[in-house]
Symmetry: C2
Amino acid sequence: MRGNLFAVAVDLVILTVREGVLSTLLVRRGVAPFLGELALPGGFVLPHEDLLDSAARELVEETGLTITGHHLEQLASYAAPDRDPRGRVLSVGHLALVPDLPEPQAGSDAAASAWYPVAEVGHLAFDHDRILAAGVERARAKLEYTTLAATFCPPEFTVSQLRGIYEAVWGTELDPRNFQRKVTNTPGFLVPTARKVSTGRGRPAQLFRRGEATSLHPPMLRD
Amino acid sequence: MRGNLFAVAVDLVILTVREGVLSTLLVRRGVAPFLGELALPGGFVLPHEDLLDSAARELVEETGLTITGHHLEQLASYAAPDRDPRGRVLSVGHLALVPDLPEPQAGSDAAASAWYPVAEVGHLAFDHDRILAAGVERARAKLEYTTLAATFCPPEFTVSQLRGIYEAVWGTELDPRNFQRKVTNTPGFLVPTARKVSTGRGRPAQLFRRGEATSLHPPMLRD
DNA sequence: CTCTTTCATGTCACATTGACGAGAATCGGC
DNA sequence: GCCGATTCTCGTCAATGTGACATGAAAGAG
């Protein structure tokens, strides 16, 4: 067919919000190129795998999370001729949005993986900086016109928690009252849980679950 | 490195608006798989090429257009194990937006290429239907919040022509007066040409050039 | 019991939008 | 040369969404 063949890898930008800080899962490389540097979790696509399947498999291996209920989408592909010293490797970046995990993780596949605040991430192996930047920008954009912020939340959550997601991802502050009006007036975004309340320090908040709506019309603007 | 290698191709969704109809450039295949069927223009990535360079080269070969001033972006990658009977081929879809070309083309690379109204396109070779659908959807979305509609237009154009682009891409009708107010009130979208006017059948229209603005705030909604 | 904190609801000015009216400038036909 | 059709351009008005801000409701801390 053609002589110039590529190895194909999937790399994952896995985003979550931990204690109000947008964070991503990174692994410290234990093998040949860029040894010891931080990189996105990822791996080569197996012979009979499709891209999204491969990304889902990597996600499970790194976090133990299955895709059910979570969000995983393709970002973009990177194939600069010199991006990998071993030869021609095309990497398909993916974006995963997950809720704050109970524990980072223990004896999983890549034990060297941990969460890092996105704002503090410096240089990464390969061209993973660019992929991470693309993932963060995509997430920021998608919060504007979709209901995806809820995928960062546990199954039941308050409006404050949801607002915290927006503030962490966007790096801005939002007016609690206007935010509440916006999300509660958007049909299908939030379904109130059976009168349950939770508590922190002030008045208890109503708990919600995700609604069926996926898009936000009109969008939530961040200016 | 790994045994499972891929051939990597770029495929192009080239969109334009011809006589008020959103159209795409397709080629009739003259070789082995899917011989005789319609397909997106594209080809394999050369040994030292990056993806966007490869797509730009294909665009030149198919249309004679250089990228200067036009729009070319990556869409997504497709790598289902059985998408190509010859073996594992990963295709990186790209989207190009071009103005209505003076002539389809003549003795260029793929002489079998021609413009087809998007609405009338049936089944395509490989999984090119999906790529085309993704390209059209991306173009529709981008008209909402960017000034990219102008890339469909010649260097100088009227507000009516621009509105025709929106109507063709979205398949809707827009109020001429509200549309005019919207685009002329958006700073940096349109720069009025030195008082020139054009003509069709009614009152002559002001000619504009593209401004420097790339995003639309607030966006143009299509409902 | 009062203060503080956070949730929840409401008000008001302002900008944008959608629907529409009407004048300005051209052309084709009589 | 006049008339009507056509299209560009500007303007009006009500409805809607947003930003800024006040205020009440429901908890815990001292």
